[in-house]
């Protein structure tokens, strides 16, 4: 795996406020990485550092072979960026904006204009950006970020303001690019959206990286219980199945449903018990800890540490 982005022990302070503290990670070709954390956790700061818009207080960054802090920018031809709250010069049309950015990247204009159709702006391309809605500006933002098949895509809250349909198209395009070797780093608040898509998750809290790995790895580290929901026939209200070990915390939910919090090592054993002969089991659901729960867990842990 070739690293396209390398962040080594990077810190960024604004006066007495530490925006990012001693963060290190590498992003490889074809990786789709979700950068999550609440507002002010340092997600945008990290992206700005990778673009050389701000300089790190300590540590070093390499993006596509460039050191952005030193003002090197040749690699930026192969980099797409969508800032949070993207804005454009209001006097120009969508088409003119796209042409301008394509020229700066030395990419064929015709191909860049096709992207406008791809994000559903074809009909509005001749209108001034000033007349665009928030969602349309976001579409234009995506279109410019995708100019020239970027090798690294930095997307800051890319799906805000997009309707569900375009959201699907967006993820399809991004996954396609990742499959072809593009590194995609996207920050988002919509964790459920990322859950099935991001192969890797980096969790930030107050400028510190608190977790980094695939969702599977994070589940293993977090050791959060898997929830097993059983629908059992003939249970009296408040009653729990007799075969259930006392060590497994469980609660009754609406009607016949029993929900069990199964620790990782208990999971298989519990499922065996539940599916054994004579348990009157009608239905069964296994819900692994969601990204939301993992995120909450890692933040709680980070807060506990001094």
């Amino acid at each position: 795996m070739n690293a396209t982005v390398r962040v080594s022990n990077v810190s960024k302070r604004y006066g007495r406020i530490a925006a990012v503290t001693d963060v290190s990670f590498e992003l490889g070709e074809g990786e789709m990485v979700a950068l999550i954390g609440h507002n002010g956790a340092g997600k945008t700061t990290l992206m700005k550092l990778m673009l050389g818009l701000i300089r790190p207080t300590g540590g070093s960054i390499v993006v596509l072979g460039d050191n952005p802090a030193a003002g090197e920018f040749s690699g930026r031809r192969y980099l797409g960026y969508l800032p949070e709250n993207v804005s454009f010069d209001a006097a120009l049309t969508g088409r003119e904006t796209q042409i301008f950015y394509a020229r700066l990247k030395r990419e064929p204009v015709a191909k860049a204009l096709e992207l406008l159709d791809a994000v559903g702006l074809g009909a509005a391309a001749a209108r001034r950006v000033a007349t665009y809605s928030k969602g349309m500006r976001q579409r234009l933002g995506l279109a410019q970020a995708l100019i020239g098949k970027p090798r690294v895509l930095l997307l800051d809250e890319p799906t805000t303001g997009l309707d569900p349909e375009l959201r699907q198209t967006f993820y399809k395009v991004i996954q396609q690019l990742a499959a072809e070797g593009t590194t995609v780093l996207l920050s988002s608040h919509a964790l459920t959206e990322l859950e099935e898509r991001a192969a890797r998750v980096i969790i930030m809290n107050h400028g510190i990286k608190v977790a980094d790995g695939s969702i599977e790895t994070l589940r293993n580290i977090a050791r959060l219980p898997t929830r097993i929901r059983l629908k059992v026939a003939g249970l009296a209200p408040g009653e729990v199945p007799a075969w259930l070990p006392a060590s497994a915390p469980c609660r009754r939910m609406n009607g016949h449903v029993v929900e069990i919090d199964a620790a990782p090592e208990q999971k298989i054993e519990l499922l065996r018990c539940a599916t054994a002969v004579g348990t009157k089991l009608e239905d069964l659901d296994v819900v692994p800890p969601s990204l939301d729960e993992l995120y909450a867990h890692f933040l709680r842990q980070a807060e506990k540490m001094p």
Binding site: L53, I54, G71, F73, R77, S87, F88, Y101, L104
Partner: protein, 275 residues
């Protein structure tokens, strides 16, 4: 190449926003009214109508061109930062100095277009009404247009320096107006007061020259009112033209430096900005 792309976009935007139209119309209207009203004192038999126009028009330019230049330039960096467009532009493969230089060339082109067309109309109107114009006057008029553009370049560069240094657009506008008042009005009044008080006892001619070079509008004034013999007689500056030892080359060099130094400082300040 990047510089040209950025400059092209600036011009495109200025045309869209009607900056080009507004400034051209303004300069043309003032130039035309000065041409016809301004020739009243010399009468229609005035042999050197264009020279009179140069004197009145260059006096007007000193007020107007710096104002227009500062209006379009004070917002160039800090405004784009506040609107958020600079963030996206700088994520592209373009150096910050290229952005600055591109904007400068774009704004200067707009200003040059407005000046040449607006003032050119005045000269054309004189010709059209049958006024005879000799070569000396024409050369002086062309020099006036050229130096007006150069004066514009000076104030565009000064506007960028302000724009690269301050935190918000309001401050940039305030400082720009202050600079305009200082360089266009207050400096000359203070200098005049100083000379009147001094009565020529302490301030030598060299010191006076240095003080004049310290203000780009004075350099422009000297260039146009004393630089050409035919004009200086009308300007009432013939006496000064003889006493000042500043040649046309020195004055042009001063205006060029007044452009390059603020522009260089603006590029330096901009390259160190975090956004």
């Amino acid at each position: 190449m990047n510089v040209v792309i950025v400059a092209g976009k600036e011009i495109h935007q200025a045309v869209r926003n009607r900056w080009v139209l507004a400034s051209t119309l303004l300069l043309a209207a003032l130039a035309l009214s000065l041409t016809f009203l301004g020739s009243a004192p010399t009468g229609t038999v005035g042999v050197r109508a264009l020279d009179v126009v140069i004197v009145s028009l260059s006096s007007l330019t000193i007020f107007l061109i710096p104002l227009i230049a500062l209006l379009i330039s004070h917002d160039a960096i800090v405004g784009d930062m506040e609107r958020g467009t600079m963030l996206l532009l700088l994520s592209y493969p373009v150096a910050r100095w290229q952005v600055l230089l591109g904007k400068f060339l774009g704004h200067l082109a707009v200003l040059a277009f407005a000046t040449c067309l607006g003032y050119g109309l005045a000269a054309a109107a004189l010709v059209a009404t049958g006024t005879r114009i000799d070569h000396d006057s024409l050369a002086a008029f062309a020099a006036m247009i050229g130096s007006s553009v150069l004066l514009g370049a000076v104030f565009v560069a000064i506007g960028y320096l302000v724009s690269a240094l301050v935190r918000d657009r309001g401050t940039a506008a305030g400082i720009s107006i202050g600079l305009w008042l200082l360089l266009v009005l207050i400096y000359d009044m203070a200098l005049l007061g100083l000379l009147a008080l001094d009565q020529g006892r302490n301030i030598s001619a060299t010191a006076l020259n240095a003080m004049l070079l310290f203000n780009p509008t004075d350099v422009y004034r000297l260039f146009n009112l004393t630089g050409f013999a035919n004009v200086s007689t009308f300007a009432g500056m013939a006496g000064l033209a003889q006493s000042t030892s500043l040649s046309i080359q020195v004055l042009l060099l001063a205006l060029t430096l007044w452009t390059i130094v603020p522009l260089g400082l603006a590029a330096l300040a901009f390259s160190r900005r975090e956004l």
